[in-house]
Symmetry: C2
Amino acid sequence: MFFEGSEKKANIIIDVKQLSLLDDIADDFWLALVQCCNAKILSTIENDDCKAFLLSESSLFVWHDRLLILTCGNTRLVHSVEYFIQHMGMNKILQITYQRKNEYFAHAQLSSFGDDIALLRQHVDGKAFRFGELDGHHNYIFHQDNSFQVSGEDKSYELIAYQICQKASKKLTTVGLKSHEIRKFLQLDRLLAGFILDDFVFEPFGYSINAIKGMQYLTIHITPQANSSYVSIQANINLIALAPEFLTILAPKSIDILSFNEFEFSELTQQYIPQEYISKSLFQQHLSNNDLVCFANYIQPQTIFSQAELLDIQGQRHAL
Amino acid sequence: MFFEGSEKKANIIIDVKQLSLLDDIADDFWLALVQCCNAKILSTIENDDCKAFLLSESSLFVWHDRLLILTCGNTRLVHSVEYFIQHMGMNKILQITYQRKNEYFAHAQLSSFGDDIALLRQHVDGKAFRFGELDGHHNYIFHQDNSFQVSGEDKSYELIAYQICQKASKKLTTVGLKSHEIRKFLQLDRLLAGFILDDFVFEPFGYSINAIKGMQYLTIHITPQANSSYVSIQANINLIALAPEFLTILAPKSIDILSFNEFEFSELTQQYIPQEYISKSLFQQHLSNNDLVCFANYIQPQTIFSQAELLDIQGQRHAL
């Protein structure tokens, strides 16, 4: 059994002069929106600035003038974006970005990035880019191409850990593990002091948490299975500075860092990414919507032979 | 437009006491066999020990007691293997191995490795392994699990170059390039002195060459398109020792080395792989058919930002 941890992600900014505040919209709308990609709402937290929905496949955050949705597994997030466009009207939308990563099991996905943007382009003029090599980790980013300019203050970060160490994978696949044990293992109560937290432990394993504090958010989604492990940490607080904390606990073989509008990307990665990680990919692009996107993939060099993985009859990893 | 360079590969060893020599079989049989995976025979060379067919998608080599077939693109090589089994009978087959790599465009393939071995396992008891991380370069290898033991003398090698340098990609995508120009660029007349050569330049670009000398073979298949470039060099002569020659010309960002029964793998890679390449993956397994398989993936660390790739409406690279 495998689970595709890697997420699709959409950001939409609306014109609040033309539309009521997004976080005033009744939950039924969001319920229908997430249903479009076959996800469900598990729980909700909110503060004055933000409403955060924990989904059966990842997360939805809604602020006054924008939303962020990420969904993993075999969801077709683009259908949720289409639902939003059809119900709100493109004239009230200032900017859409749609993003997708390399997948562990690309052949099992219901669509490719190309399929998704062909659909989006029926509604939105936009440009698409790939950050990273096709034969390695990469991010596809599509953005609406209009006169809207994203503020340089709109910073966001992704820290993705692949192939976490055996100790972390074993801990996070423990049968009957409780959410407070995972919070403790990841030291989240300390790292996210002052945040409202909402988390969920999946069967047979897997963990999601949403955290909000004012306008700030941080969300973690864990697919802990050895050999296809994927830990996604996404936030609008500086995750490069937090990287050492997470890397110490997870000790992944490979990490991706993606940032929007972090102008000190090189200095920060140099300061905070441990020396044992070597930069395999390094991409940067200033998009015409004014987003500065930086992407880096790091690996830990291997000097000792590992054993090959014995596979079962479906070509998947033998059960533990 | 994209082309999937990465190959599927099958090795079959037969019992010559029960069957006439494979290379005595009429070409009609091989024509039908390669048709099963939608490939065609373009040309043939032979010597006393080996017949080598250049295919529309890669190569077929036939010796007295064995065959090696590799096919790229969207071929379903497993159907050719099934054809061989059905026409020869499993009782005359001593050993089958079937191999598949990570693909650039896995979502565009007609089957996954899991699908392929599910089909093979209807005819053959076997074991399957993955060499390499799921989120990086890897090789799947399925082998028949019987009493047959492969000889330690049966050495073979693969040297795969990904993301070749701009200069090499540009040269190899030159319109109207002739085969003798490619041989000269790769210095093949010098490196393959004494071999019988058979090569083909594809439209719009792409190049294949088969080379044989006694029992020895070497075959090269080039998909030169920038960003999905793939140069596969496969042989039963020592490609690790030849690696510096090819790496100087192609300067790829990443290379894979795979060997069967090379007992000096560590020493050879240490001696011949240039220092600028860092070992990202290193896997070794002694299979129950006595094959010792080693796999390594190397990368060139990146320290300078590259620009993201602008994609066209299908999510593919913009035309040159």
